[in-house]
Structures are given as structure tokens and as C-alpha cells.
Amino acid sequence: MHISEGILSFPVLLSGWVYTGGGLFWTLKKLSANDIPKMALLAAVFFVASLIHVPLGPSSVHLLLNGLIGVLLGSLALPTLFISLFLQAILFQFGGITVLGINTLLMSLPAILAGVLFKLKPSSLWGGILSGFAVLGSGVIAALVLSFSGEAFLQVAKLILIAHLPIAIIETIIGYFTLLFIFKTKPELILNNLGSKS
């Protein structure tokens, strides 16, 4: 999920970078150098996972997976998503320099929120539901930043929001089964994060 260059207004773009810059500064401070390889690999996974086309009726959709990232990584979802989006810009020209801040914001804010809520009740069903809501959250933020950028975008904003509904449903299902799988095979991947250590 990304917004292209050249569309949003300057104040919106700047506030995106203020959020992202501040967030990166804050989250990277608590990231230990020893966790960097693992985090980098996870960022690469989410990049690769977004290449998978999931069929939906006659068409197919890409997964956002920001909820799942939030559930697994907590606030470290922010640098992970930032790197993942930066790589998408470099390799596929999805988004660009000025809009990277906003794109990080719209993906990571719901992710971090999902991470916080998941800690209240760590189960795969709850995690799946949160994954779905994180997608909706991204859709809402995308619609909001578009409508802040000009009245002309109101119609587009509504459509973007509607387009997120089916993806949210699919992500709920996929989030649930992915977490079920991880709970069965390597629960420490989820539970480590719950101690808010890594």
C-alpha cells in the first residue's frame, strides 16, 4: 500500500516526514545492534510477502501485512516498514522520496497500535482480527491524508477506503492462520516480543 509522488500537498508530506523521522529516531535508539540482522531479514520477508498475489474473485490483491508486522515486532514495526517501503521505491518505483514519510506513517501507525492491543490478549484469533483492522486503519489514514491535501481528492479517498475492505477480510484470515502456524512451530517468535525485549 502506498501513495504516489506528486499527489499530496507539501504540509502533509512534511508532517509525514516529521512523524517518520521522530519515530525512527526513537525506535532505533532501543534497537540493539545484535538484533539488526534479524530485523533486516524480517523487513526482507515483508517485502517478499507483498509480492504474493492472493486471488480474490476474478482479480488478485497484494497483502499489506502491517498488522502482522506490528503483532510480531511492536514499535520496531516502524523501521521495518520504512526499510520495506524504501526498498519498494528503489526496486519497483512504488512511491518516492517525498512521500516516503507519509507511506511509513500510514503503514506503521496501525501496525504499532495492533502490536499494543495484541499484548492484551496474545492469541492467533485476536491477532488475525487486529491484522484486518490494521489494513482498515491504513485505508483510513490514506483517505485522510488525501482529503487533507485538497477537496479534489475526496471522491478518490472514499474509493480507496472501500478498496481496503476486501483486503482487510483476507488479511484477517491470513493473519489468523499465520499466527496459528507460528504459535505451533516457534512460539518464541511471538512471545519474545511480548517481553518487549527485542
Binding site: 533486516a40 526499510i83 518505483q93 522520496i97 499465520t178
Partner: protein
């Protein structure tokens, strides 16, 4: 490289800084004149990139695909003189003008991004960011993620292939979603374990949280010329905007 002023031969810091200056300047524009004027400098940058015109056009595809969506909707939702109507919806001139503006802006921004930042190799980009005092941890994250990206993509393709020979056909049903979820879980596990091994291998070689790079950027005469040219043009654009 086509010529010795090519962007890839410049100090990455110069390239990164000018790309930021131009990107944010362009993103702030609301009228046609400064955008059209900056086409000139973008054309100059295109000459200095290692990409052919065909490659550049291909790289501009995603942004224009995204913009197509706006062309289909915005002219119908703005008020103004109608060019044509579909039922009660009018395709307005004001909307077309607006779309033209964002299309021009978006393409210019992408051209700056492609010509400047993408002309650098990822390692040049990383060392440039590093010497600009961007968080080292962030740069390492980027470098390692980039390095393992292709490996993980192969992993994904391998798993999809093994699904295929078992006769798996993706459809809109629970089974497909479940299969994809397990596939994702498996990639996650493998990546996590690989990350662990990578870390251990690094520790074995004396990793202390730093990746020294053999390449150190230097500001040379070429950078001076490039900066003078970009700077003069930028002043011209600023002047144009202020008057």
C-alpha cells in the same frame, strides 16, 4: 558509464543532497510554470544516468498507472466547465487541469528520484547516507535487507513451485488463504532462523555493531561542477517562483 560526469561517479552525498533539494522543491509547487522550467534540469540529469530512455519509461510506469485512477475520477468530481458528460456526471476542464498538474509533478519527482538516487548502487547509496550521519543502524538494516531480499524471493518461489507440482491452484477459498498463510509463516520462520545464523556468523568475525565500508566518498571537482550547475538552476527556479 557513458561519460565521466555520470552521476554514478559523483560523491553519493552530493547526489543525495541535490535529490532532496529538488524533490522537496518540486513537491511544494502548485503551478505549471516552475514545473515546466524544472523539466530542463531533469532532462540534463537524464543524460547523466546509466539508464536508457526505454528503461526510464518503464520505471515511470507505476506512478502513471496510479495517476490513471485519478484521471478517471477527479474530473468527474470537480465543478466547472464540462468537456463532455456521462449521464449527469460532467468531465470538467478544471479537473483535467488539476490532473495534468499532478501528473507533471509526479513524473518530474519520479525522474529526479530515478536519475539521481537510482543511478547510485545500493552500496553507494548506503555509504552516502552513512557519511551524511544518517543513523548507522538504519543503514545496516537497509544493506542487510537488500542483501537477503533476493534469497528470500528465491525461497518464496521455491515454496510456490513445490505447491504447484502438488497440483495447487490458487482460488478464492479458505484453503488457498490457509495455504498462503502457512507459506508466509514458513518464510518467516526460515528468515528468522537465517537472521540468527547471520548474526552468529557476524559475531564470529568480531561484529561490534559496525560494518566498515571499503568505499569512502570523496568530494571532487566533478561534484563541484555538478553542484554549481544544480545550484544555479535551483536559484533560477526560486527566482522564477518569487517573481
Amino acid at each position: 558509464m557513458k561519460n565521466n560526469l555520470a552521476i554514478a561517479q559523483l560523491d553519493p552525498r552530493t547526489v543525495i543532497l541535490w535529490s532532496l533539494v529538488y524533490a522537496f522543491f518540486l513537491a511544494a509547487q502548485k503551478s505549471f510554470l516552475p514545473l515546466l522550467a524544472s523539466l530542463f534540469i531533469v532532462l540534463f540529469y537524464i543524460v547523466l544516468t546509466p539508464f536508457s530512455c526505454k528503461e526510464i519509461l518503464k520505471k515511470l510506469k507505476p506512478v502513471n498507472f496510479f495517476l490513471l485512477f485519478f484521471w478517471l475520477i477527479i474530473p468527474f468530481s470537480l465543478q466547472g466547465k464540462a468537456l463532455f458528460s456521462l449521464g449527469k456526471y460532467a468531465y470538467t476542464l478544471a479537473g483535467v487541469k488539476f490532473c495534468l498538474l499532478i501528473t507533471l509533478k509526479a513524473n518530474l519527482l519520479m525522474l529526479i528520484f530515478i536519475c539521481l538516487l537510482l543511478s547510485l548502487s545500493p552500496s553507494q547509496l548506503a555509504s552516502g547516507l552513512q557519511s551524511l550521519k544518517i543513523s548507522e543502524k538504519l543503514v545496516y538494516l537497509f544493506l542487510l535487507a537488500y542483501r537477503y531480499l533476493f534469497l528470500l524471493k528465491e525461497e518464496k518461489d521455491k515454496l510456490l513451485r513445490s505447491l504447484k507440482i502438488r497440483g495447487f491452484k490458487p482460488k478464492t477459498n479458505l484453503f488457498t488463504y490457509k495455504t498462503y498463510a502457512y507459506l508466509l509463516g514458513l518464510i518467516l520462520l526460515k528468515a528468522y532462523e537465517r537472521g540468527d545464523r547471520v548474526h552468529k556468523a557476524l559475531v564470529l568475525r568480531g561484529f561490534q555493531g559496525k560494518f566498515p565500508s571499503l568505499y569512502s566518498p570523496k568530494f571532487t571537482q566533478k561534484d563541484l561542477y555538478f553542484s554549481l550547475f544544480s545550484g544555479l538552476n535551483f536559484l533560477l527556479l526560486l527566482y522564477l517562483q518569487l517573481t
